[in-house]
């Protein structure tokens, strides 16, 4: 018999299947275009903005990397916004020749620092780079040609994790590779919903026309992307442009970062929810906003089903155990009577969809790793993938629920 939870599971399975098929179709249809970049027609002048708040450990290395960029030096301007650092960030940045360092008072959000940098920038293209991110020398050169098309407002790049050391960083290493793959695929439906702070390029005139980065939003890199599309621009991704970024090294830091991302995502969704299914907002109303809302829904639904099934199983099992002692029955006989084993030996519609989703998820990981050139070795690689698919992914809906509460309570955040 089908119960409400069974129907919820089938709805979850259908939505998951839908998005998986969407990405696989996008991949199959655009396989050859993933690493393609347009022909470089000219070198537009470029201002690189590095907002930095207490980044003395990384800022020197980042600037060194920027100095190695393959781009005409007379067309390149490097601006470091020292955002109220209390350490030696400003001092270190000033030691580099040709780097413009501007000090400002920290106002709590990164958007203030970037907008400040944009106001100081003189060039046509603005490249924003986090102070703990390290672009490859050819990253900008391979991103600039996408601006040949005047409708392109921003170009994002492939962000990878720099030197992952512990498990949480290694899991993010996997995750970032998958994000690179999926973000590029989203480009083919004009669905890129974020221009990550690690390295993204913008037309300065477009940034100014649409009013710069939203200083009230926690994820200014998501909001700016949505606003650009809202204003009729498109966002491209240059897959060959690679940048390596530092990621949280502890579970606590990772959790805090994800809460911030989610609250920012919720802020942005709330801001643009009125574009939902409105074709005049093109991909924003017809794809990005529905995609976000559905992903929230499916995440909560999947988690709800998971908690219900797990909770019921734990409750039933503990009741069985308790009562079996109470009534002097053999608890081992109860263990033998395993529903789980029956679901494998006697598969039903749930086993089919469960296994199907698991296999598709594995395929998703392998294709994204292969496409992005990330190599996973041996048993430890398999172990990481399994941890990713089980524990890591399970944390997402918990973070989302936490973020929803924080968003509803309008808690103030700083970066």
């Amino acid at each position: 018999m089908l119960y409400a939870v069974d129907i919820a599971y089938l709805v979850f399975a259908f939505i998951t299947l839908y998005f998986t098929i969407l990405f696989f179709l996008l991949f199959l249809e655009n396989k050859k275009s993933i690493y393609k970049i347009p022909k470089l027609l000219r070198y537009p002048s470029m201002s690189i903005i590095v907002p930095a708040h207490n980044e003395e450990k990384n800022i020197g290395k980042t600037i060194k990397n920027l100095k190695k960029l393959i781009y005409p030096k007379n067309k390149l301007e490097i601006i470091v916004v020292n955002d109220g650092s209390t350490d030696k960030t400003g001092e270190i940045a000033r030691n580099f020749k040709g780097v413009k360092v501007f000090d400002k008072v920290n106002q709590g959000k990164k958007a203030y620092a970037i907008n400040f940098g944009v106001s100081k920038a003189k060039n046509e293209i603005i490249a924003c780079i986090d102070a703990d991110s390290f672009p490859k020398p050819d990253s900008i050169l391979k991103a600039v040609p996408f601006f040949n098309d005047p409708i392109v407002g921003a170009v994002t790049t492939s962000v990878f994790v720099k030197e992952p050391k512990n498990l949480i960083q290694k899991l993010q290493y996997l995750e970032y590779a998958m994000i690179v793959w999926t973000r590029k695929l989203l480009e083919f439906v004009d669905g890129i919903y974020v221009t990550p702070g690690a390295l993204s390029l913008y037309r300065k005139d477009v940034l100014q026309k649409i009013g710069g980065f939203d200083e009230n939003n926690l994820t200014e890199d998501i909001e700016i992307a949505w606003r650009m599309i809202h204003q009729g621009y498109i966002i491209k991704m240059s897959t060959p442009s690679k940048v390596y970024t530092t990621v949280p090294s502890s579970f606590k830091k990772w959790w805090a970062q994800r809460i911030r991302w989610n609250v920012g995502g919720l802020q942005t969704s709330a801001k643009y929810v009125d574009t939902l299914f409105r074709s005049r907002f093109k991909s924003l109303g017809m794809f990005i906003v529905p995609f976000f809302i559905l992903s929230y829904f499916v995440s909560l639904l999947g988690f709800g089903v998971f908690v219900y099934v797990l909770g019921t199983a734990i409750f039933n099992f503990s009741s069985l155990f308790f009562k079996s002692f109470l009534y002097k029955s053999d608890p081992l006989s109860l263990i033998n009577y395993s529903y789980f084993a029956d679901f494998l030996i006697l598969p039903n519609v749930f086993t089919i969809f469960g296994l199907g989703i698991f296999i598709l998820s594995l395929l998703w990981i392998f294709i994204s790793l292969k496409t992005t050139g990330i190599k996973i070795k041996g048993l430890s690689g398999v172990y990481k993938i399994l941890v990713y698919l089980t524990l890591y992914i399970t944390a997402f809906p918990i973070i989302l629920i936490n973020s929803i509460f924080k968003f509803l309570k309008s808690k103030k955040y700083s970066w």
Binding site: I21, L22, L25, L320, S329, D330, Y337, N348
Partner: protein, 216 residues
């Protein structure tokens, strides 16, 4: 974008429906298995009943009783084991309600077996106890207690062997004979046990409690 969304929608629906159809097919094939099992049990039951009737006609009374009781017990073992298999299948079946009909068929077979056991007990003065176990098919809240009771009863059956017969009956499938028994013995909840057609015990009963009324 429109193109890819249409393609995705069509493919998702096709794959999803295919998954559901495979699920229905698996459920159906399990129902067919149950049907096959019940049909062969039906045949065996008729054979056993005829056999016992012929024994009583053609052989001396004590020998015929012994054989009739033996084939009755053999059938009890078989029907009980098959019952567990049917329960396993009904637990995983999600998309087919036909299983309820098979469950009713199984209940009728159990009732016939129980009726025969009562007759044998009377005509052959047999010394075994009958335990009729009433369980709910639909009530999710009763499932834990019923599982405990099932385990206690199967342990008891294993321990006592041919000294007891075990007859599990679904409480809420609207089988008129079961309804009659329920009202006759005032059985209103599950799990309940009817021992030797006399004593009704309601709620989980442990081995010691049951053995106060049934001999082992």
């Amino acid at each position: 974008m429109k193109n890819i969304i249409i393609k995705t929608t069509i493919m998702s629906i096709i794959i999803f429906v295919l998954g559901i159809l495979i699920g229905v097919w698996l459920d159906n094939s399990r129902i067919e298995e149950i049907k096959g099992t019940l049909t062969s049990m039906d045949i065996e039951w008729n054979d056993a009943r005829l056999q016992s009737s012929f024994y009583q006609k053609f052989t001396n009374n004590s020998e015929s009783c012994e054989n009739a009781i033996k084939s009755n017990f053999d059938f009890n073992d078989k029907i009980y084991k098959e019952g567990i298999e049917i329960e396993r299948r009904e637990n995983v079946n999600k998309l087919d309600i036909e299983i309820i009909n098979e469950k009713i068929r199984y209940a009728l077979l159990q009732l016939q077996f129980w009726s025969n056991s009562i007759n044998l007990k009377e005509s052959c003065k047999a010394n075994y106890s009958s335990i009729v176990y009433f369980y709910s098919f639909f009530d999710e809240n009763a499932k834990i207690d019923q599982r405990i009771q099932s385990v206690i009863l199967s342990d008891l059956k294993e321990e006592c062997g041919n000294k007891i017969i075990l007859v599990p009956l679904p409480f809420d499938l609207n089988v008129s004979t079961v309804e009659f028994i329920k009202s006759e013995y005032k059985i209103n909840s599950t799990p309940s046990l009817l021992i030797n057609e006399k004593i009704v015990l309601t709620g989980i009963q442990n081995k010691e409690d049951i053995l106060k009324y049934a001999s082992c």
